[in-house]
Symmetry: C2
Subunit: 501 residues, 2 copies
């Protein structure tokens, strides 16, 4: 029998523990250390506790509340939003083509379904698609982007469908990581950020480079701050990419066109690959705010930006007005990507075979909805507008109610689906949290959950300036629940403040 | 403006190329070197060429064939297999619950759909599920495993639903990789293998440790060979996991119970984490062959194996009798996993939010199909049996026709969906291939594709003993096409052999 090599750099592994059991192969000490470093607050300890509380309620345990309200995650349909009828009609027809003979489905839904089935292997959603996604749907996405961007061309060959936007973001980051020690890839991300970014960078062993959004100026992005972050990072890593989330998650700001131009100039000068997380492009509510895609701005800036600046832009079926999170559909468009790298990306995607086909089908509807002449147009438009109008009203209400509460300050929710209010926490509460080994805002959010059933995510899970405290709360609860919820939360904060004063 | 750090260990990056263009940030030289090393033959150059040929045919280019037959990938529905009606009925009802009022759906399908919708957030497939998958469906999977394994208990908390089996395999491998240089994680994989394994290990920068299946004994797995591979590997890495594919892909063997016992004893003695790829558990055709799950054998071996040996077993909705590849459903069951590691796995999965819900729904049907008393039972059984019986006949026919051809030798296709015949290639063909910079079997398969339209994957994409040549061909083409296909392929081989003799 051969003996394991005792490498100099690793401690010898104990083969048999004290109790006579062999030690496990896979333990906290022997597992992938990068995975250990991963954190993901949106589904972290507070959400696990919320699940437990729901179970306790079902078992009849008495609580000071009757239901847990999950305002922790951008999951519209879990909060009661109804699916858009047309999307589900087409998908049902594709899933079960016998329905194509049913009189209960509109003609345009049937036409769409037949067109998609024609493009599927064996005319079935059950076949793998090509790894980049069904060609027809990539063409639909390209047409959508062209319409969105005022006619600027989009090439279907630069579009890759994905398992939600997260999957595409991970793929692009995976291409970018390289080097060791001081040449390790650094990636600039906003603080506050959506923690997919920090989690992915930890998993990939890349360096997270924080740039701070300016809370005093409604979470504006400032190029001077980008430059500060970049310069400091160059001491210890090789910054190669810059992530932007617009509209902002968790911060809800919508970037002005001039700001986007400045960011593009900065990225070009500093040789940074741009990653534009634009999954909330349909979620813009504030008057005067407008979504500008990085692709459009970059193209309109002309050469050298239009011809050379590398960009990946991400979109998803999980947000917008449709909120079809469970289907895991999305895409990335790459711009000015090196041709050989693009082949490598194609190869990497092929290992995963293909994105889920139902998510591809829903994406196809989102990017090519009913036209005015189609029988489904009126209902589709009405449903879409109703969702977006209600979201806009809820965005406004959230800002308003929070800003009436002493000790809470909330920037305008210009877009996306979240408020990220700042809360003052009394020094004695901060001290108590430290005694418990908790971040002060985690302590606040846990107490909030236990006493009110409201589940929000502490700001520390997204990043915030030292000494400031926030939480992220979605604007998704139904209107009739949202106002009482906001008031209950404000009252809890007041009580919490008194308790620790 | 700050200057980039010129790290000692990295060559300075050229900022501006000769033509005045800035060099791209992301190039072959600067991208992730692990991704560059990834190879995935099942969708490699031969498949890209097949796609091109299909396009040329559509454009009216004259070819010596009228259609490309994609026998490269285990994609039953792409080859014309019809979906199982009950699965699609339930899914259509879940996608578009208005159909619950339709008289065209059987009552048991409606009951199933209602039960699933009750378990979904907001009673909709459009909500995220918990990251490990819908609890109800995990319970269904646990019951299925218990029935399959003769009553041995399965815990739903040890079951994680996934985006196809590939996703779950990558997750478990990701937990296992650690170390550098001689302590780098080594993973034993069979040769020939399914190239997901080599691709994943390259991407994760782990060490691939090859053990050879014995072609002379119908691709049997021999513990002496496992030991040889392990001992040699310990010189340069730290082997920590052993992957088994049973029934075999691409090799089609079904492991005997004694063999599985020997593998488990070996893994236990040598402290290897077992990964059992059992996605073809429903695809067993040969008389006398039977599927034994690693979980069942391990449990029946009693302590210390039953209580200590770590195991992950994978299953999928893409294979079996249903072949629902496009939905990307699957699961992993973990056994004897360290509790703290399991929490880490849970956390890692949460970053990806959740597996696609439609795939979860299909999995639920696969693990809890109609019972004999249900209205859909008869049709479901008939459809299921028809698929499996035809696959069995095609497995037999494939073996038979190939073995009639001089220079081709094919082991019995006891299970799974592939034959992996060995072909003799004349020395002059080998030489010609080398001149062209191609693996000899790639040269053969490319010529086959160009002259006959038959797309199969060269053995070099799966691994094979030096100096032997194979290809993988699915048994999925419809019966009426399969015999002519096999004969055409055999004739082409004869012609190719004459040409280079």
């Amino acid at each position: 029998l051969c003996q394991p090599l005792q490498a100099l750099s690793a401690p010898p592994l104990p083969q048999v523990a004290m109790n006579g059991l062999k030690e496990k192969v896979l333990t906290l000490d022997t597992m992938n250390p990068c995975v250990r470093r991963v954190e993901y607050a949106v589904r972290g300890p507070i959400v696990l506790r919320a699940l437990e509380l729901e179970q306790e309620l079902r078992q009849g345990v008495k609580k000071p509340f009757t239901e847990v309200i999950r305002a922790n995650i951008g999951d519209a349909q879990a909060m009661g939003q109804k699916p858009i009828t047309f999307l589900r009609q087409v998908l049902a027809l594709c899933v079960h083509p016998d329905l194509l003979n049913s009189p209960d489905f509109p003609e345009d839904a049937k036409r769409k379904a037949e067109r998609i089935l024609q493009a599927c292997g064996g005319h079935s959603l059950g076949a793998y698609s090509v790894s980049s996604g069904i060609q027809l749907i990539r063409e639909d996405v390209a047409s959508y982007i062209e319409r969105r961007d005022g006619g600027i061309p989009a090439d279907p060959n630069n579009i890759y469908l994905s398992t939600g936007a997260s999957d595409a973001i991970l793929t692009v980051l995976k291409l970018l990581v390289a080097g060791e020690g001081p040449t390790r890839t650094g990636v600039l991300i906003p603080i506050p950020q959506y923690p997919l970014y920090s989690a992915a960078l930890a998993e990939l062993n890349a360096v997270q480079v924080d740039y701070y959004l300016d809370e005093e100026r409604a979470w504006a992005l400032d190029v001077a701050e980008l430059r500060r972050a970049l310069c400091q990072a160059r001491d210890h890593c090789c910054p190669r990419a810059l992530c932007i989330i617009n509209p902002g998650n968790p911060t809800g700001q919508v970037q002005a066109r001039e700001c986007i131009e400045a960011v593009i100039r900065f990225a070009f000068e500093e040789r940074l690959f741009l990653m534009a997380d634009e999954v909330y492009q349909d979620n813009v509510y504030a008057e005067g705010s407008q979504f500008h895609s990085f692709k459009k701005v970059l193209t309109e800036m002309g050469p050298p930006y239009a011809t050379q600046q590398e960009l990946a832009s991400f979109h998803s079926v999980s947000k917008g007005y449709m909120g079809e999170c469970g289907f895991r559909g999305g895409y990335v468009e790459v711009v000015n990507l090196d041709a050989a790298v693009q082949q490598q990306m194609q190869k990497l995607l092929s290992v995963r075979l293909c994105p889920p086909v139902p998510g591809q089908v829903l994406l196809s509807m989102v990017v090519s909805p009913p036209a005015p002449s189609d029988p489904s147009f009126a209902q589709f438009q009405a449903e879409r507008q109703a969702v977006l109008a209600e979201l806009a009203a809820k965005a406004k209400l959230t800002e308003q109610v929070f800003n009436e509460a002493p000790g809470i300050r909330c920037n305008p929710v210009q877009g996306a689906m979240y408020s990220f209010p700042r809360v003052q926490l009394p020094p004695r509460a901060v001290q108590r949290a430290q005694e418990l080994g908790l971040a002060p805002d985690m302590f606040f959010c846990m107490r909030l959950l236990e006493e009110t059933g409201i589940c929000v995510v502490p700001g520390s899970g997204f990043g915030q300036r030292e000494g400031t405290y926030h939480f992220r709360m979605t604007i998704l609860p139904p209107m009739e629940k949202l106002r009482p919820l906001l008031e209950k939360l404000s009252q809890f904060h007041a009580k919490f403040t008194r308790e620790y004063s």
